[in-house]
């Protein structure tokens, strides 16, 4: 199961010794004495002189500059409280919205149950989270559907330099927004969205035959009976 090269695809469990060889402790590790150990279950990975444990599981913990798909669960006179699929409730202050909101008038712009695209503005040491919608790319969502995948699979759905998600978009022509919190919004024709969702589930279930990208491409080629359609102007 190990490919050539240093033990790259090794699954490690908490407390497992990560062979140092002069490496520095990265994310997902802890140090005892002069040894580095895995802090959670994941894939041992060496990158730029550090040894990391890339998580295979775990809840989404927000980081500043993450883009997320959230859901309004409560509101106050000057903010909306959002569920971003993490242990921490995430307030969005009226001043961080694209609108001019009078005090007490928040419900006019976003209601409980609304789905939104937002960014994580800040997270402090006590894990108080603030969201922002001040950027043009953010806003309320309507139409389409939202699916949820484990947030640890998001890098795979996006792919190296965005190649995986670009491939899914090129084939299916579906509008997609992948939140770092594992929620994905999709909009398109039911058949196309169905294919996009299936491709994402292949990634979620880590079902490679050769490599993951090839497996997903094979599915899309089969579904559409052709290669990717030539890029058109964005609708």
């Amino acid at each position: 199961m190990d490919e050539s090269g240093p033990a790259r695809r090794q699954v490690v469990i908490p407390g497992e010794l990560l062979d140092g060889r002069g490496l520095k402790p990265g994310s997902g590790t802890y140090v005892e004495g002069d040894q580095i150990f895995a802090a959670h279950i994941g894939i041992r990975q060496e990158r730029e002189g550090f040894v990391d444990v890339v998580p295979l599981s775990g809840r989404y913990i927000p980081r500043a500059r993450d883009a997320v798909v959230g859901q309004v669960i409560d509101l106050g006179p000057s903010h909306w409280l959002t569920d971003i699929n993490s242990p921490y409730p995430a307030p969005l202050h009226a001043t961080e919205s694209p609108w001019r909101v009078e005090f007490g008038d928040t419900e006019r712009f976003l209601r409980v149950g609304d789905a939104i695209l937002a960014g994580v503005l800040s997270v402090d040491e006590a894990m108080h989270v603030q969201l922002t919608m001040a950027d043009r790319q953010y806003g309320r969502l309507h139409g389409g559907q939202i699916i949820e995948i484990p947030h640890v699979r998001v890098p795979r759905v996006i792919g190296q330099r965005g190649t995986m998600i670009a491939m899914i978009r090129d084939f299916t022509r579906v509008e997609m927004f992948v939140g770092q919190n594992g929620r994905i919004w999709l909009d398109g024709s039911p058949t196309d969205v169905g294919h996009a969702v299936h491709a994402i589930h292949l990634i979620e279930e880590r079902a490679p035959l050769v490599g993951l990208t090839d497996t997903v491409r094979e599915y899309l080629v089969g579904a559409y009976g052709r290669g990717a359609a030539p890029p058109t102007g964005r609708n």
Binding site: P87, M127, R206, T213, R234
Partner: protein, 266 residues
């Protein structure tokens, strides 16, 4: 560790050749099977068969701690709820926590609180649920062993797994891993749990009558057994995440931010 029953038949729990009623020798474990990731809704889960014990463990967390006033601003609360299903024992057990379950929940919570990196998640709780579906003594050890796997399955950061086992004394002989009859009619029972890598003891209870020497023999038996138990826990997790080992290099999380699409809005 159950309440002792009157032994009317003077059961011979261990014979002159050191063979117990179920055919085991003094230092043999009952057969154990562990499977990780058995439930869909829970963040992590594991199922264990340990002799005739069948125990399910599940973890939710970290999640927002409720009620609010119990939140710890500095770290996660690590809470375990141990429960026995009504049909898990010979005499039906009324649903709901009894005093024994409350005590077991407490000592298991404390065992995990010492290995989980709780400071990483202030104001949250890591909720561990142990559900005994079929009981044959040693359920807290089986439950703890499974819960450890469930915590790892849920991606909770910890120093190490925790492996648990009990030893006791039956027919005057210190023995490993007592079953229900042995626990009921034996002289002592001593459940324990350790951190495999460091040997730190995070759970220890005893009831019955043991000399100091007997106690150390019992502990020794359990510690040796946890080495094999740890391997079973580890194998269960590796099996669950086996396909993860087959993909190519992991793309880094921070660098790849998906370019935003046009968003329809108000």
């Amino acid at each position: 560790m159950k309440d002792k029953e009157h032994n009317p038949k003077q059961l011979k729990l261990i014979d002159a050749n050191g063979i117990r009623l179920d055919g085991r020798r003094y230092d043999e474990l009952r057969p154990i099977k562990i499977e990780a990731g058995v439930l869909k809704k829970a963040d992590g889960s594991a199922y264990i068969e340990w002799g005739n014990n069948r125990v399910l463990a599940a973890v939710y967390g970290p999640r927002e701690a409720h009620p609010r006033h119990l939140q710890d601003p500095a770290k996660a609360l690590v809470q375990c709820r141990y429960n026995m299903a009504p049909f898990s024992v010979t005499e039906r057990k009324r649903p709901g926590p009894d005093r024994r379950s409350v005590e077991i929940s407490k000592v298991i919570s404390e065992a995990f609180a010492s290995v989980v990196f709780a400071e990483q998640f202030p104001r949250t709780s890591v909720d561990i649920f142990i559900e005994v579906l079929q009981a044959d003594a040693g359920t807290r050890c089986a439950g703890l062993t499974a819960a450890s796997v469930a915590l790892a399955d849920a991606g909770i950061p910890m120093r190490d797994l925790v492996a648990s086992c009990a030893s006791g004394k039956i027919g005057g002989v210190v023995c490993l891993d007592l079953n229900k009859d042995e626990d009921n009619f034996g002289e002592a029972d001593c459940p324990m749990a350790i951190v495999p890598r460091t040997g730190d003891v995070v759970l220890l209870q005893m009831d019955g009558h043991l000399t100091e020497e007997e106690f150390h023999s019992a502990l020794d038996l359990s510690i040796k057994a946890t080495k094999g138990i740890y391997q079973l826990q580890r194998q269960a997790l590796l099996r669950r995440y086996a396909t993860a080992a087959q993909e190519g290099e992991e793309p880094p999380r921070a660098d790849i931010r998906e370019p935003p699409s046009e968003v329809n809005d108000l």
